[in-house]
Symmetry: C2
C-alpha cells in the first residue's frame, strides 16, 4: 500500500516571533485532497555527555509551555543551517562548560512528526574536559552531574519527562549495557 | 535559583484547522519581561502492546510534516478531555484491532516542551485479544507485529525515528530486562 501524501501547494500562514506555521494542500493515498498544518523548525541537537566515571550532565530548566522545571540533557536548536555536530559542541560548551574529544551519533529522530518537522540529532560525547570560556551565563539553567544509572532510574520513576532526554539517555544506556 | 517564568497575559494568536498557538507575556527570573509562543495540544497516548511471545504491534504511517513513512507504536490524541486510559484502549482497538486485559502506565512525558504543551501518556498493554469491531478501516496505516527485541534493534539502527515510540519501547524493554 502506498501511504504517501503528495504536496499540491504550500503557503505560510503564521509567522510569529518564534514559531512559523505553513499549510499545505495534499493529495491523499485515496486520491482525495486534504490540508496539513506544519510547525516549521530548524532542527536541534541533544547531548549525552558521559565522563570516565559514567556520570552524565543534565540541565534543570523552566519550560514555559508545560509550566514546569524539567531535567533535560543539554540541547539546542541548529543556528541557520549549522552542522549538527558543530551545534552539539557549541551547546555543550555554552550550557555545561565542557568540551569532548569523542563524539558519536546515537540517534536521529522526530519529536512530533504529527505536526512539526523538528528533527533531533542525539550525540554521545566522551573524553570530557572543562571548557568554560564559551559558557553562556545568561541562560536560566542549572547544571547537575549524576550517574547514568541514576538518570535511567529517574526516567523510569517519572522524574525525567522530556522526550529527547528519555530517548537519548535510554539509547546510550542500552548500547553500553548490551 | 528560582527558574520560574510567571504569566502576565495571554492571547490566542493563531487558530488553524489543526493547530492553535497562543502567545503569553511572561516575567523572567531576572525580572525582565519576554514573550512565549506555545502550540496548544490536547495531549496524547502511546501504547506498547506486548503479547505472550514478547511481540509488539507497530504501525507504519506517512507523516506529512517530515515527508516520510514512520514506524510507530499505536497512538492518538485525547478526544476532548478523554481519560488517557480510555483513549489508549480506543486507539489500540481502532488502529490495531486488539483489546488488552492488563494496562500499566509506563511513562508520562512532554514531546516538545520548548514550544508545545503536548503531554504523552505511554502505556504497556498485555493480555491481548482480538477486538476487530472497532477497527478504523479509513486510517492510512499498516500494522506489523515484531519481537520487542527487534524493535529495540530497529531503534538503535535508526529504523525507528519517532520520539514517543523510542521512549515508550526503550522504557518497556529496560523495565522487562532489569
Amino acid at each position: 500500500m502506498d501511504l504517501t501524501e503528495i504536496k499540491i501547494s504550500s503557503e505560510e500562514i503564521f509567522d510569529g516571533k518564534i514559531l512559523k506555521v505553513h499549510r499545505d494542500q495534499v493529495k491523499l493515498p485515496n486520491g482525495k485532497t486534504s490540508s496539513r498544518e506544519v510547525v516549521d523548525h530548524p532542527g536541534a541537537v541533544s547531548i549525552v555527555a558521559l565522563d570516565d566515571d559514567k556520570n552524565i550532565y543534565l540541565v534543570r530548566q523552566f519550560r514555559y509551555p508545560v509550566n514546569k522545571v524539567l531535567l533535560e540533557v543539554p540541547a539546542g536548536k541548529l543556528d541557520g543551517g549549522e552542522d549538527p555536530l558543530d551545534c552539539a559542541k557549541r551547546e555543550l560548551a555554552e550550557e555545561v562548560g565542557v568540551a569532548a574529544s569523542e563524539w558519536q551519533k546515537i540517534l536521529t529522530f522526530y519529536t512530533t512528526p504529527g505536526f512539526s518537522n523538528e528533527i533531533m540529532h542525539a550525540f554521545l560525547a566522551k573524553g570530557l574536559t572543562p571548557h568554560i570560556e564559551d559558557k553562556d551565563e545568561d541562560e536560566f539553567l542549572e547544571v547537575i552531574k549524576i550517574p547514568l544509572k541514576d538518570a535511567v532510574n529517574k526516567i523510569l520513576k517519572g522524574e525525567i519527562q522530556d522526550a529527547k532526554t528519555i530517548s537519548s539517555i535510554l539509547a546510550v544506556a542500552y548500547t553500553l549495557d548490551t
